[in-house]
Amino acid sequence: MNPSIFIILLTTLILGTMMVITSSHWLLAWIGFEMNMMAFIPIMMKNPSPRATEASTKYLLTQATASALLMMAVIINLMYSGQWTITKLFNPTASTLMTVALAIKLGLAPFHFWVPEVTQGIPLTTGLILLTWQKLAPLSILYQISPSINLYLMLTMSLLSILVGGWGGLNQTQLRKIMAYSSIAHMGWMTTILPYNPTLTLLNLLIYITMTFTMFMLFIQNSTTTTLSLSQTWNKTPIITTLTMLTLLSMGGLPPLSGFMPKWMIIQELTKNDILIMPTFMAITALLNLYFYMRLTYSTALTLFPSTNNMKMKWQFSPTKRAPLLPTAIVISTMLLPLTPMLSILL
């Protein structure tokens, strides 16, 4: 793609999200969402192919529906309160509509069906932007309207997301679909704590973005998109196998890695509100996620995957793909647990 057009698209993407995050008028937030979606679709079609076209069409349809529902919620809010400020919503119908619209944008169950397919059809770098940057804008609006969200709707969607993210990823060998289901499950964890303590949503988002960024950078380094090609990394870049294992275990939420921090703080905050069954259920369902991360770890770092004999003796070329910020991201996504007291208050 023409580099200047690509720069314009990236700038519009960043500008759109910034407009959503920093605006106090509902129209400007809606415009930010539209700019975000418009700029992202040509980025998805960077390398045109039938899969990219299909992913772009599905992305456009779902996000356009969500934007229209968001606008309807804004107008109903205008009808009942007469003002356009982004505060809590003043009508339960408007609140339900807006929560549903933002859930469609985030990929929460039962509106998650587009996430694996769209993530699968686009290149790895674009998939990284989809799963990390595109979550910032809807979560910022959810953070700002969190006092008025219907509790049962939010908890139902988030519990369903954790379940779907766990079970959906079990049958996958394509790495992008695995990352998509992991994104659905992490969104479920994030929105569980939203009605109670939105600060922890932001903490979970920060840790999730770091871990997903690390995983995608590890994949981009070797351009792997399937479990099969990931299992050959011991031959190409042996250090990647160790780092993949550490980051995957961190995503599964194992102490003493930093992926444990959001889960621990969320469960602690939920028990402070005298809810005991739900965090138990969530923690047990997170084991499903851990299972398919462990399967990736097993085939990558712990065993030699079956391969032909000439795959075992490769020329060691110098690497051609750069994975920017990979060492920083790995350190942050595995060693941040001792900083928990600072991070859970700072945000």
């Binding site: 539209e34 045109p48 069409t57 009808m79 009942y80 694996p116």
Partner: protein, 98 residues
């Protein structure tokens, strides 16, 4: 509370259901998206005119501008899909399933 808008809210709901339930053509869902935006435009204009909030009068026009943008994107994607498959049937979009 204002029951005079029930007509347009019904129009919105019918278009939304039309967007979610489509039989074979992709273009019918794009049309229903336009229908949703049209009903949003009408109801926004009515509320803004009835409450005499003059400064907000720009909002329906801005809505239409961004919707035109979105529709152009949707149509161009439809053209690419139709170039690949020959029709715009949504059953053709099945390359990315598990």
């Amino acid at each position: 509370v204002p029951l005079v808008y029930i007509n347009i809210i019904i129009a919105f709901t019918v278009s939304l259901i039309g967007l979610l339930i489509y039989r074979s053509h992709l273009i019918s869902s794009l049309l229903c998206l336009e229908g949703i935006i049209l009903s949003l435009f009408i109801i926004a204009t009515l509320i803004i005119l009835n409450t005499h909030s003059t400064l907000a009068s720009i909002m329906p026009i801005v809505l239409l501008v961004f919707t035109a943008f979105k529709a152009a994107l949707g149509l161009s994607l439809l053209v690419i899909v139709s170039n690949i498959y020959g029709t715009d049937y949504v059953q053709n979009l099945n390359l990315l399933q598990c």
